[in-house]
C-alpha cells in the first residue's frame, strides 16, 4: 500500500521522458583497436595478467566461434552486427588495480553516486543494520573498479571478487567450475563471451555458510562502440545460501551496443542460490535508435541433492533482450524457480523466458512470467520444460501472463514441453489481457489520474514477482516499471 503510493510520488517527481541513467562519464580510457582477432584476445588476456591456461582457453573459444553462425530463431529483428566494428576492451586509466576506494578515479565514484549505488563502506554502514548491508562489485566497462565489504565476507569464508581477480587468486576453483554449466560452445554468444570476456563477479560460499549479506554487482557500460562481455560464476557449496543481485545501466547513445554475458551458478547438496536482476540498459529512443543488444546466457546447475536455484528478473531496458535464465535440475529433489517481469515500451523487442531441465528424481520447478508490452514493442515468452526419462516424479507449474497497453504492441507465448517419463506432472497456464479503457475510466472516476491508474493496475499485475525480490530492490523495481511505462497510454 505504502509502496504504491511511493511509486506514484516518485513518478510525479521524475522527468520521466528522460532515461535517467543516460549520462556519460568523461574519462581517459585504455582500449585496443576496434575489431576482433586473435590479437584482441591476447591483448585482453595480457591486460588481465592471466595465466597461460586461461589464454589458451580463450583462444580455443575464439577459434570455435569463428566457425559458428549467429542464431536467427528468436522473434527479434535487427540489422547484422559488425563484429569488427566493436571495441572489445575499455578500461578507465588508473594504473594497477586499486587497493582501496581512495585510488579509484573520483569521476567513477561520482558515476556510481549518481546511479544511487553506494561504494563507500562507511557511508553504507551509517544507519544500516548489518543484515541489510549489501556488498557491491562495481564493473565499469571492461573492469571491476571496486568490491566492497571484502574483509567482512572473508571472515565468513565467502569469496566475493571480480572474475579477473579470481583467475589470479583462486585458479583451482575457476578451473574446476568455469564452463561446466554453460559449455564453451553452448551458443554463438556464449562462445564469443568465452573468448573475450572482460570482467564480472566471482562468488564462492563455503560449506554450511549462510552468506552474511546480500551480494550485488553493478554493471555500467560507459564507452562508445564498446561491447560488454561479463562473466559471472557463483558456487554454493553444500548447505550454503547466497542471495545475489545485479543491476545494469548505460548512457544514451545513437548506436547499438552489444552486451553478451555468461552467468553460471552451481548449487551443491542442500545449497540455495537466489539470483535477482534489475536490468535497465538504455532501451533506445522512441524511434528505436540506439539501445543495448542484451544477448545473455544464464544458467544454474542444481548439481547437488535438494539444492535450489531461483532466478528473479525485472527487465525494463535494452533495445533487444534475448535471455533465458535456466535451471538444470540434476540433483534428486532439487528445485528451480523463475520469476520474471519483462516490460517493453517504444520499439523494444523482448524474447525471454526460461528452461527447466528435469534430470533428477522428484525435482520441482516453478515459472511465473509476467510480460507487459506498451507502445510499439513486441514481447515473447519462450519457455522449455523437459523431463528426462529418469526424472520420475518431476513437477512443474508454469504461469505466464501478458498485459497489453495500447493496440500497437504484441505479446506472444511459446512454450516447449517435453516429458519422457509418465510420472511427470507439468501444468501450464497462460493469459493475455489488455488494460481496458473501461478499467482506466473506473479508476479515474474515483480520482486517480491516468498515470496513477496505469501504475496501480500494473503493480497489481506484477505483484507476485515483485514479492520475490529483496525488499529494497522491490521498491526500486516498482519505480522502474512505472517509469518505463510512462506515456504509454493515451
Amino acid at each position: 500500500m505504502a509502496a504504491v503510493q511511493e511509486t506514484i510520488d516518485q513518478v510525479k517527481s521524475i522527468d520521466v521522458t528522460e532515461y535517467k541513467y543516460g549520462f556519460v562519464t568523461e574519462l581517459e580510457v585504455d582500449k585496443p583497436a576496434k575489431g576482433l582477432t586473435e590479437d584482441t584476445v591476447r591483448y585482453i588476456s595480457a591486460r588481465k595478467n592471466e595465466p597461460a591456461w586461461m589464454l589458451e582457453w580463450r583462444l580455443d573459444a575464439f577459434r570455435r566461434w569463428k566457425t559458428m553462425t549467429e542464431p536467427t530463431w528468436s522473434r527479434v529483428n535487427y540489422p547484422p552486427i559488425d563484429y569488427q566494428n566493436i571495441y572489445y576492451y575499455a578500461a578507465p586509466k588508473m594504473g594497477a588495480q586499486p587497493k582501496s576506494l581512495d585510488e579509484v578515479d573520483p569521476a567513477i565514484l561520482e558515476t556510481y553516486k549518481k546511479l544511487g549505488i553506494p561504494l563507500r563502506e562507511q557511508e553504507i554502514l551509517a544507519g544500516v543494520a548489518p543484515e541489510n548491508r549489501v556488498a557491491v562489485d562495481a564493473v565499469f566497462d571492461s573492469v571491476s573498479v571496486v568490491t566492497t565489504f571484502k574483509k567482512e565476507l572473508a571472515e565468513a569464508g565467502v569469496i566475493f571478487c571480480s572474475i579477473s581477480e579470481a583467475i589470479q587468486e583462486h585458479p583451482e576453483l575457476v578451473k574446476k567450475y568455469l564452463a561446466t554449466v554453460v559449455p564453451v560452445t553452448d551458443n554463438y554468444f556464449a562462445t564469443l563471451n568465452s573468448a573475450v570476456f572482460t570482467d564480472g563477479s566471482f562468488v564462492y560460499i563455503p560449506k554450511g555458510v549462510r552468506c552474511p549479506m546480500e551480494l550485488s554487482t553493478y554493471f555500467r557500460i560507459n564507452e562508445q562502440n564498446t561491447g560488454q562481455f561479463e562473466r559471472t560464476l557463483i558456487i554454493a557449496e553444500e548447505g550454503s545460501y547466497v542471495s545475489y543481485l545485479e543491476g545494469c545501466t548505460a548512457p544514451k547513445r545513437d548506436e547499438n551496443q552489444l552486451h553478451a554475458a555468461v552467468v553460471e551458478l552451481i548449487a551443491l547438496d542442500d545449497a540455495e542460490i537466489k539470483y535477482s536482476t534489475v536490468q535497465n540498459w538504455f532501451p533506445g529512443d522512441a524511434e528505436g535508435k540506439g539501445g543495448i543488444y542484451n544477448f545473455v546466457t544464464k544458467r544454474g546447475d542444481c548439481r547437488g541433492k535438494n539444492s535450489k536455484i531461483s532466478w528473479t528478473q525485472v527487465e525494463t531496458g535494452s533495445a533487444i533482450t534475448w535471455k533465458y535464465p535456466s535451471c538444470i535440475l540434476r540433483g534428486d529433489g532439487s528445485r528451480g524457480e523463475f520469476y520474471s517481469i519483462a516490460v517493453s515500451n517504444g520499439m523494444q523487442q523482448v524474447d525471454s523466458g526460461t528452461k527447466m531441465i528435469h534430470l533428477g528424481r522428484n525435482t520441482t520447478s516453478k515459472i511465473i512470467a509476467k510480460g507487459i508490452a506498451a507502445g510499439k514493442s513486441d514481447s515473447t515468452y519462450r519457455g522449455m520444460v523437459s523431463a528426462h526419462r529418469k526424472a520420475t516424479g518431476a513437477r512443474n507449474f508454469t504461469n505466464c501472463d501478458s498485459l497489453l497497453i495500447g493496440d500497437q504492441c504484441g505479446a506472444h507465448t511459446i512454450p516447449y514441453i517435453e516429458a519422457k517419463t509418465a510420472t511427470a506432472i507439468f501444468e501450464h497456464e497462460a493469459t493475455t489481457s489488455k488494460i481496458g479503457e473501461d478499467q482506466l475510466f473506473y479508476c479515474q472516476q474515483r480520482g486517480l489520474s491516468e498515470e496513477e491508474a496505469v501504475a496501480l493496475i500494473v503493480n497489481g499485475f506484477v505483484k507476485e514477482v515483485l514479492q520475490q525480490l529483496p525488499m529494497e530492490f522491490a521498491v526500486e523495481a516498482q519505480k522502474l516499471i512505472t517509469i518505463s511505462l510512462e506515456g504509454s497510454v493515451g
Binding site: M1, Y442, Q444, Q445, G447, S449, G460
Partner: protein
Amino acid sequence: MLEIRNLTVKIADEDTQILNGLNLTVNDGEVAAIMGPNGSGKSTLSYVIAGKEDYEVLDGEILLNGENVLEMEADARAAAGIFLAFQYPLEIPGVATMTFLKAAMNAQRRARGEDELLTPDFIKRVNAAADGLGINREMLRRPLNVGFSGGEKKRMEILQMALLAPSMCILDETDSGLDIDALRIVADGVNALRDKSRGFLVITHYQRLLEHIVPDTVHVMARGRIVRTGGKELALELEKSGYASYGEAA
C-alpha cells in the same frame, strides 16, 4: 447543485446522437430519479457527466456548483465531487481493495490541496464504513471486485461513495442483479448518505429501487431528453402504464 443545459451528445467517431438537448437540475439535498426505457440514453447521461471519453459533446453545458465540468478530465471531476456508482463495477486484479481505496482517497485529497490521510485514520474510516454496509474485513484484503458477487460489487460501490464523500452521487442501475436483501442493504447505505449538501441522481428502469430510495423528483427520459417531470407518484404510474405512451417499448 448540478445543472445540465441543452446537452447534446453523440458517440465519438459515429453519427449516432444519443442525447438531444437534455435539460436537468438536481439541487443540493435532492434525490432525483431518472426513469426511462432501454436505449433512452440514461447510462450515456451518467457517463457524460462523469467524463468518459467515448462521447462527443456537440452542444450544451454541465455545471457543478456553477462550474462547467466539460473541460475537466474524469479524475478532476471526481475530485470536484462527482461520483458514479457503476452498473457493472470493474475488476482490478492484484490490487487489494484497501490499496485501491487509499490511493483513490489520497488522489482526491491531493487534487483538492488537502493533506493525505494517515494510515490509522484511513483504516478507522474504512472499517467503520464497511461495518455499516455489512462488508467483512477479509473482503477488503481481496483484489477489488475480483470474484465478488453482484451484490458485493454494488456494496463496494456504496462503500467508495461513503468514503469519498462526493457532493453529487449518480447511481446507474444500481438495482440490476440484486436480490431483495442485497437491494435493501444497498438502499440503506445510500439513504444513510442523504444529506442537505448532497444531491443524488438515481437512474433506474424499474420502480422497485425507488420503494427503498424514495426520490423527491422523478424525471422520465425518452429519446435523449427529459420528457416529463413529477413527484414520487410518477414512478408508480409508470410501473402501471409502462413506457409505451412515450413512444418506445418498455
